[in-house]
């Protein structure tokens, strides 16, 4: 009987050992993590990956064995994930996010932040002017739940004793329950401000303006009662962080809006993917700031009960955030970390 030799069969015979070795390495990494491999095996991995990738190219052009081609495609893809997969753990990734990515995102979105700040500031000015001229506006701007009994009917003594210098209700009540309620409230507003960025950014700006409007209304009310400085102290202790997080949420929404509205030379989705991490970093960082604000507001505000100390803390948090956002400007890594 005549012997048959197929190129594709010969090819498979000569390369199969390498594929099996790679398959074995990849399977071990998939089930127990990359730390399972010895130093030698780690060195082998990229070489085997390239060899198998070139096998795939050859097989595609000379072989008609469907199982072989599908197997090689699958193997190269699985090896690709290991070779080009992320190589940092969660602690390292979070550290990178906090040390580098979040401040960097904030710096790169400086114009969006400026726009969001202007929206809030405009709201504050309008709120002050309208409520100072006629206190009835206060009820129109501030919903019942947020006003908490405060309003045109409040007297100076009420505002001072029940709100600004209210007694501390205790650890559990203030740090756990109250902080959580505030977190939810702020997070809701933050989500809406960020999420509505996809709608072109106008709702984001309106919502930011509305937050400013409420703040302005409160400012005007306390100004009329002669408590302006005390109120600023009371609110600045957490307000700096809280307002900062809302502005960052807004900036994140505006980044999305910009990338979707003005894609430039890219397709809208590609443009969003190229710049989306900035928006996500802003929103993610803002969530952490909301956490911090809830914590400060729930506990520290009632614990520290004189105005100069409160102003100092508010100022200190402001300085802290700004210096944090300006920190780590030099890239310390060696190029892109994978």
């Amino acid at each position: 009987m005549p012997k048959i030799s197929l190129r594709s069969a010969e090819f498979r015979k000569s390369r199969e050992t390498a594929w099996r070795t790679l398959d074995d390495l990849i399977s071990r990494v998939e089930s127990r993590g990359i730390t399972q491999l010895s130093a030698d095996e780690l060195q082998q991995l990229p070489l085997l990956y390239r060899a198998t990738a070139s096998s795939l190219s050859v097989a595609r052009s000379i072989a008609l064995d469907r199982n072989l081609i599908l197997y090689l495609e699958n193997l190269v893809l699985r090896a690709f994930f290991v070779v080009y997969g992320p190589r940092v753990g969660i602690l390292e990734a979070l550290r990178q996010f906090l040390r580098r990515d979040f401040p960097k995102a904030v710096r790169s979105a400086i114009w969006h932040i400026a726009l969001a700040t202007i929206a809030v500031a405009a709201g504050v000015v309008v709120g002050i002017v309208l409520v100072a001229s006629n206190e009835a506006w206060f009820n129109a701007f501030v919903p019942e739940a947020l006003a908490g009994g405060r309003g045109p009917a409040s007297t100076t003594a009420q505002l001072r004793d029940d709100e600004i210098f209210a007694p501390w209700p205790g650890f559990i009540q203030s740090f756990v329950v109250f902080a959580n309620a505030l977190f939810r409230n702020n997070a809701t507003v933050g989500i809406m401000i960020f999420g509505l960025g996809i709608a072109g950014g106008v709702p984001t700006l309106l919502l930011l303006g509305y937050q400013g409007l409420m703040l302005g209304a409160f400012l005007a009310l306390h100004y009329k009662r002669g408590l302006l400085l005390d109120f600023i102290g009371w609110i600045s202790i957490h307000g700096v962080t809280e307002l900062g997080s809302l502005i960052l949420c807004g900036a994140g929404g505006l980044v999305i809006a910009e990338k979707v509205l003005f894609p430039g030379r890219y397709a809208r989705l590609d443009n969003l993917a190229r710049n989306g991490t900035v928006a996500a970093a802003l929103a993610g960082g803002a969530v952490l700031m909301v956490f911090a604000a809830g914590f400060i507001e729930g506990g520290l505000r009632q614990l520290v009960s004189n105005t100069p100390a409160r102003l100092a803390i508010g100022l200190a948090t402001g300085v802290f955030w700004i210096s944090y956002f300006l920190s780590n400007r030099k890239s310390t890594g060696n190029g892109a970390t994978t």
């Binding site: 048959i4 008609l64 469907r66 197997y71 990734a93 996010f97 329950v177 929103a283 994978t338």
Partner: protein
């Protein structure tokens, strides 16, 4: 080149999947199957269960540690906080350490990849998971924290949260790559990578039957690969019945006059497969790829 297998894959595997081509940094085109919504839901539900389980366990451990009885609101808050921390750490940790797959995704054979074929960066993993927070969990938590029988403005707020969740979760149904909002923002994509195995070589080393060139020119690559699948099927009465049918069909088509006894059907088919594959691969090397029997064979030299 890679698209040549599309038709046969659809024919044999029966599933019609969305496929995308990504180019690896070495410049190799890799075809990936986009994960469908059902698979993603399965993976998410499994992860969700793991997360709830972990949250519950951690809460009970804390509750045992804290002897003092805590009120309902405080307990809820602690659960809320643990759950928040755990779910973010869970998704980010597993997607970073196991090449873009969480335990749920691994069970459903799913992976997260960069849409452009580049390396999956930690920034993208963090971004797509933090967005999940904004997408689903915060609105869901807020929805459930509202009083049960909501009236007035509370009702509309609840409706708004629910509407937001529904809108966002429907997003994967409305784009070709089944991307959720986090994928859009992070530039990632979820694909299905079921594990494949390398099966034994079917080609024989000795030719028991000899076929002429005319006989081999009846079929193309598509028919060859259907035959390959038939030969790789595990032996069963059903398989041998189909093989006999196919064998008689081939004999009549190529004009094979000698009778093939039923016991030798498999052997005959293997020999025919070997000869046909040798013929088609040789032709392919000369630049005459023949997709199926309807394509005219290459000109005789």
């Amino acid at each position: 080149m890679a698209q040549r297998l599309d038709r046969i894959n659809r024919f044999l595997d029966g599933v019609r999947r969305n496929r995308r081509e990504i180019i690896s940094p070495e410049g190799i085109a890799l075809e990936v199957d986009v994960a469908n919504n059902g698979e993603r839901l399965t993976a998410f539900v499994i992860d969700f269960l793991f997360w709830m389980l972990a949250t519950g366990l951690l809460y009970f451990m804390l509750a045992l540690l804290i002897i003092e009885r805590v009120s309902g609101a405080v307990a809820m808050t602690i659960v809320f906080f643990i759950a928040f921390l755990l779910r973010n750490l869970y998704f980010i940790h597993f997607e970073l350490t196991s090449q873009g797959s969480t335990p749920g995704k691994r069970i459903a054979n799913l992976r997260v990849i960069d849409r452009g074929g580049g390396p999956l960066l930690p920034g993208a993993v963090v971004a797509r998971n933090l967005t999940r927070e904004v997408e689903i969990f915060l609105p869901l938590g807020l929805f459930f924290s509202l009083p049960r029988v909501a009236s007035g403005s509370d009702f509309w707020i609840a409706a708004a949260y629910l509407g937001w969740i529904l809108m966002i979760s429907a997003l994967p149904f409305f784009n070709r790559d089944h991307l959720r909002a986090g994928d859009l923002i992070a530039g990632t994509m979820v694909i299905s990578v079921p594990r494949r195995h390398l099966l034994a070589e079917l080609v024989e080393t000795e030719a028991k039957y000899a076929f002429t060139r005319n006989q081999l020119e009846v079929y193309g690559a598509f028919e060859l690969q259907v035959l390959e699948e038939l030969l790789r099927r595990p032996a069963s009465p059903d398989t041998s019945r189909v093989r006999e049918q196919v064998c008689s069909r081939i004999c009549s088509k190529i004009g094979w006059t000698d009778p093939v006894p039923p016991a030798e059907t498999a052997e005959f088919l293997k020999a025919f497969y070997t000869a046909e594959r040798a013929h088609l691969e040789r032709e392919q090397l000369f630049g005459h790829f023949r997709a199926d029997k309807t394509e005219p064979p290459a000109m005789r030299r």
